[in-house]
């Protein structure tokens, strides 16, 4: 009752136009508004003053009636559940609870006893992990175990079929491992550079070198004299380039057959190149060039090999 609420709570001059419209059926002016307001307030007072409450006797009679009547028994949800699981007048194996228990046991056994699902995937992954790296090369192995500190151990004795081969492989693997961990610093640059020699200013060192050079030169001359007697051509060796003149084969082919073939050596960075074909090395002539002491020593060795 909006109209009654407006009349009871507000005064006439406080009313808005919409509110006056809503109470138009009850009041038309301020006098009627006040009369009705007072009447409603007094009516409320009258009702409150004359309100009755139930007596104890009345309450007692009603509750006696309530307790005497047999009401429908209270239904609990778990009662219905128990009746469903344990129905009456049926055999034990037909009980739903029994059947549910059998089903759960069966499922438990399927997933646990027979090791399905997870066990299969786990075992397959383990097999893959433990597969021996037979087909991998050492480089591939190094890449595979780059991030791991894996010690490449030789295979078990039971797996060895060719022990000699296996030992060689294990040794090579161990060597590779040690080299991989502590690689040698390979200095590709020449130990003695000609430029360095040019810049040497110590007289002592130069004197020592000069003495050595003289000895080697004398030896070389002897060798070249021997070689030159058997050939008409000469081979110049200068820096990285080869200037090859005509080389004549020796007459003694028999000697060449008996003698082993020569190794092909190509060492550009040592500023000398030796190239040989299937001919006697005795036919090769070397022009004397400025070599370092070590280079000369190497040449000396080479000639020794050639002769032998």
């Amino acid at each position: 009752m909006k109209a009654e609420q407006i009349i009871l709570t507000k005064k006439y001059f406080e009313l808005s136009n919409s509110e006056r419209e809503s109470i138009k059926s009850l009041v038309t002016n301020e006098i009627e508004f006040d009369d009705l307001k007072l009447f409603l307030l007094q009516t409320k007072k009258h009702v409150k003053a004359n309100k009755l409450t139930t007596t104890d006797n009345l309450d007692k009679l009603i509750f006696q009636k309530l307790n005497s009547v047999t009401l429908q028994p209270k239904q609990y949800w778990y009662n219905t559940l128990i009746l469903f699981l344990f129905p009456r007048d049926t055999q034990f194996f037909k009980y739903p609870v029994f059947q549910l228990a059998i089903a759960t046991i069966f499922l438990f056994g399927v997933f646990n006893i027979f090791n399905f699902t997870n066990d299969i995937t786990e075992s397959s992954s383990k097999v893959a992990m433990n597969k021996p790296d037979k087909n991998l090369t050492t480089k591939q192995k190094a890449l595979k175990y780059e991030d791991q500190n894996v010690v490449l151990k030789p295979a078990d004795e039971t797996q060895i079929q060719n022990p000699h081969k296996q030992n060689k492989e294990s040794e090579s693997i161990l060597k590779f491992e040690s080299d991989f961990k502590n690689p040698e610093v390979v200095n590709t640059a020449p130990i003695y550079d000609l430029l360095e020699m040019d810049n040497v200013t110590d007289d002592k060192l130069l004197d020592e070198d000069n003495e050595d050079i003289e000895k080697i030169e004398s030896e070389l001359i002897e060798i070249t004299n021997e070689i030159s007697t058997n050939s008409e051509s000469k081979v110049f060796l200068e820096g990285d380039k080869i200037e090859k003149l005509e080389i004549k084969k020796s007459n003694s082919r028999k000697d060449s057959r008996s003698k082993p073939k020569n190794k092909i050596v190509n060492q550009k960075h040592n500023n000398f190149v030796l190239e040989s074909e299937d001919t006697n090395l005795e036919e090769i002539a070397i022009k004397t060039v400025k070599f370092s002491v070590k280079e000369m020593a190497e040449l000396n060795k080479l000639f020794y090999v050639i002769n032998n």
């Binding site: 009627e32 307030l41 004359n50 309450d59 209270k74 239904q75």
Partner: protein, 196 residues
């Protein structure tokens, strides 16, 4: 055995009735606590302010609910359903009195005769607003009187009154406005005393 303790105070009237239908006696106790006083006062006014009669009718009404709780329609509001039963009981009582009135030449107990002429001292009884209200109210027909009582004495809404009396809300409004306006004018003499 209860797993969870129920809080009946938060349940609505309809929920309590449903619980009572399922066999919960405690739910009915809460219904009685809520509407016991209401029904008693209603019968008291309807039955000529006869307290004993009102208590008897109250006991009878709640006894009917205890005996046949399934008669309650879940789709309806409990309050209107309860007052409808009470109203029907009063109508039946009025019919009985009419029959007795025709058969006997005496008024039944508690029946107050309509005063055709008000005594002067009663009119100027400034402190007897309540009595005057009752007298003025009785001058109206039952239709208007019932609507006024249900609204101001039982504190029912327009919709609830229309459900109890089974009439339209517009009709309830028009009857209520008419009787309220008339009574306010008639009881104007008590205005000076009413001012708070």
């Amino acid at each position: 055995m209860r797993l969870l303790k129920k809080n009946y105070k938060t349940n609505s009237d309809e929920e309590l009735m449903l619980l009572f239908i399922k066999g919960d006696r405690k739910a009915f106790e809460y219904i009685y606590i809520r509407y016991g006083d209401y029904i008693l006062n209603y019968f008291n006014r309807k039955l000529w302010y006869d307290r004993e009669k009102a208590e008897d009718f109250t006991q009878e009404l709640f006894g009917k609910i205890i005996d046949r709780p399934e008669m309650f329609d879940i789709n309806k509001k409990f309050k209107t359903w309860l007052f409808t039963i009470a109203n029907n009981m009063c109508k039946n009582e009025y019919k009985k009195i009419e029959i007795r009135k025709n058969t006997r030449n005496e008024l039944p107990e508690g029946y107050q005769a309509e005063a055709k002429q008000q005594l002067q001292d009663e009119i100027v009884d400034e402190n007897n607003f309540s009595r005057q209200l009752t007298i003025e109210l009785d001058k109206f027909n039952d239709k208007h009187k019932e609507v006024f009582k249900l609204r101001h004495f039982e504190d029912l809404s327009i919709r609830e009154i229309s459900d109890v009396l089974e009439i339209k809300e517009g009709t309830v409004k028009s009857r209520l406005h008419f009787i309220t306006k008339e009574l306010a004018v008639k009881l104007k003499t008590y205005r000076k005393l009413i001012i708070e």
